[in-house]
């Protein structure tokens, strides 16, 4: 295809991505190093026959003029990144100096919003991902061996948790695990503790969110692995059997190696997806116990005071996190491309 033709074919989609993905990233970067102007404050001396007093007022005109002349705000460099709401350099340094032992240090770290969110996000990402892969694998192996006629129905119901809107899916589970809902009641009965509430405890909230994510995303892993199982090398399986491999050994030495590339694929996709965990926190109303970077951005942007600079700085740090998780995918794509040449 000629460059010219390619250009016209690609223009609409390229323009859309340039304007609404690439430029916003630049704009977020720029916003994150500026902070809004404070009001221009003047001190006026008011003298009356009874004496003089000083009065501080906001000079509305000067404030407006300043805001209009520099609409981006005041340049603060990396100031926002280091403030208390983000990396909190000073607080961390003070904490490091003052705390006895690592335990106290990490406990103090947990009170800083950014580290609290990171703590949850990373725990969530690295627990939910292996769990959902394992569950997806077991479902795929089980479904693969049931009768052909039932498979369609099973796949249909399995797809439901995955296709349902994440916010609605988490709400549905949230209503069920409410202490007055059916799962909540069942858990109270099982634990023999009528006061048990999943919402009130931090570890239980975390477990609940991870369980939700596994429920939501295991079908994806299942479908991918199931497709992989359809292309199993039958001759290898048979020769393994002739060599006397047990059923478990067949799975261990033939099926699993065949599915390894798919496991890597699902793991890479899910690591990135889980890292941006957001809707479940809103749906489960769990922000008191668990926050994530995406939730912080959402929280900063919403409400009456839209804290654009703070949100932009968190966005940039989220993008950096995603980039770290993305790098193995990029390396793989690059290697594929090289090997094709």
């Amino acid at each position: 295809m000629k460059h010219r033709t390619f250009f016209w074919f690609f223009l609409p989609t390229g323009l859309a991505m340039l304007l609404f993905i690439a430029l916003p990233i630049v704009s977020v970067l720029v916003q994150s190093v500026f902070t809004p102007h404070g009001a221009v404050i003047e001190t006026v001396k008011n003298c009356t026959p009874f004496g003089c007093n000083e009065e501080t007022t906001i000079n509305q005109e000067a404030t407006r003029a300043l805001r209009e002349s520099q609409p981006l705000g005041r340049f603060v460099g990396l100031g926002i990144y280091f403030d208390r709401g983000h990396l909190a350099i000073n607080e961390v340094r003070a904490l490091w100096a003052n705390s006895q032992g690592l335990g106290q240090f990490f406990k103090g770290l947990g009170n800083l919003p950014f580290y609290r969110a990171m703590g949850f996000t990373l725990t969530f990402t690295f627990l939910a991902t292996p769990a959902l892969i394992a569950l997806g694998m077991v479902i795929a192996l089980a479904v693969n061996s049931i009768s052909q006629r039932l498979k369609g129905v099973v796949i249909f119901f399995s797809l439901l948790p995955f296709t349902v809107t994440p916010l609605i899916g988490s709400l549905i589970l949230f209503w069920m695990i409410d202490s007055r809902g059916i799962l909540g009641t069942a858990l109270q009965w099982l634990a023999d503790d009528p006061g048990l509430s999943l919402k009130a405890s931090t570890p239980l909230t975390w477990i609940m969110l991870i369980v939700y994510q596994v429920w939501h995303a295991a079908p994806f892993a299942f479908v991918v692995f199931y497709a992989g199982l359809q292309t199993l090398p039958q001759d290898q399986l048979e020769s393994a059997k002739i060599d006397g491999a047990s059923r478990l050994q067949q799975v261990r030495y033939v099926v699993v190696p065949h599915l390894t590339p798919l496991v890597t694929f699902v793991a890479l996709i899910m690591l990135m997806d889980n890292f941006r965990v957001f809707e479940p926190i809103v749906g489960f109303n769990a922000a008191a116990h668990a926050t994530s970077l995406s939730w912080i951005i959402f929280n900063d942007l919403g409400g009456e005071t839209r804290q654009l600079s703070a949100a932009a700085a968190t966005s940039v740090m989220t993008i950096i996190g995603v980039a770290v998780l993305l790098s193995p995918v990029l390396v793989r794509t690059w290697r594929d491309f090289r090997s094709k040449k």
């Binding site: 916003q31 061996s145 609605i168 549905i172 951005i297």
Partner: protein, 293 residues
């Protein structure tokens, strides 16, 4: 798994079947339970006294003289005007899918037919864009949208969702077009067609399977989105998902949780139908990327 030698022992077969049943319950029960409960009053849906109330609707019978009531649905659709959100979601999804497929097929086709090096870099850039959480971009949208008075409109949201959708659409369609033999449009070009004519007359008639699969995923993205729609739409223009989220803020205090339950069920029904009709396409779409990678 046809031959007799490969048949699993009975115990294993039983265990497998039992596991599949357990999984089916886990996957489907929450939906069935919530659907059932959405026709009850709140005291039954959240029953403190006795959990069987939610099965038999004792309080619902007391209040309405029937074990089932549509009061939750009436509250959501009529009183809280959920139908507005429903229509808005319809508009947004329709335009997102159409626009995104139109410009996506053109781009994906071009990427699959051009042998130059830059196509790889464009695809790589798309992959990076695909990984960006949409919420991180929102901070970048707000300022210019406020400035140019674009904020709050459905059309703005449609364009943003289309753009966010493009990287995925491009990858899907790129790999789909690569599976269509190049000779097909090459020969049309030999016969004197321009590249666009070859695309229109030769490729468009055979591209529908791939386009439908991709369109489904575009639809799901637009339908399920919460981060972008809740941030970029004004209160009047809200789509279903942010509307339900807004219910939560106001209705928990008023004791009208059932509105939110009914709305959540209403918003899930279209997805349910979608999965039922397009199960095959969704499965093939989910596996397309994996089998390649």
């Amino acid at each position: 798994m046809a031959s007799k030698a490969q048949r699993a022992p009975l115990s294993l077969r039983l265990a497998t079947n039992a596991f599949v049943v357990v999984w089916l319950v886990i996957a489907a029960f929450p939906f069935i339970w919530t659907l059932w409960g959405s026709f009850k009053v709140e005291l039954d849906f959240f029953s403190i006294a006795d959990w069987t109330n939610s099965l038999f609707g004792v309080n619902t019978l007391e209040t309405y003289g029937n074990r089932f009531t549509l009061s939750g649905y009436e509250g959501a659709w009529v009183q809280e005007e959920f139908w507005r959100a429903f229509i808005n979601t319809g508009i947004v999804c329709f335009f997102v899918v159409c626009t995104s497929l139109t410009i996506g097929t053109l781009g994906g086709y071009a990427l699959s037919r051009s042998g130059y090096r830059y196509t790889f870099w464009l695809l790589l850039a798309a992959l990076i864009f695909r990984a960006m959480p949409p919420i991180t971009l929102v901070a970048g949208y707000l300022l210019p949208f406020f400035e140019w008075n674009l904020w709050g409109r459905l059309s703005t949201t449609v364009i943003v969702l289309v753009a966010i959708n493009q990287p995925f659409t491009l990858w899907m369609l790129h790999s789909f077009f690569q599976s269509i033999p190049k000779e097909l449009d090459e020969s049309a070009k030999v016969d004197g067609c321009t590249q666009f004519q070859a695309f229109r007359n030769v490729i468009i008639p055979v591209m529908w399977p791939g386009v439908i699969t991709t369109g489904l995923f575009s639809f799901l993205l637009a339908y399920n989105d919460f981060a972008v729609t809740s941030m970029l739409l004004s209160d009047d223009n809200r789509t279903m998902v942010p509307k339900i989220a807004a219910f939560l803020g106001t209705t928990y205090t008023e004791g009208n949780v059932m509105f939110a339950v009914a709305a959540a069920v209403s918003a899930t029904v279209p997805l349910f139908i979608l999965v039922m009709v397009f199960q095959r396409q969704i499965v093939s779409g989910l596996t397309a990327g994996a089998v390649k990678g």
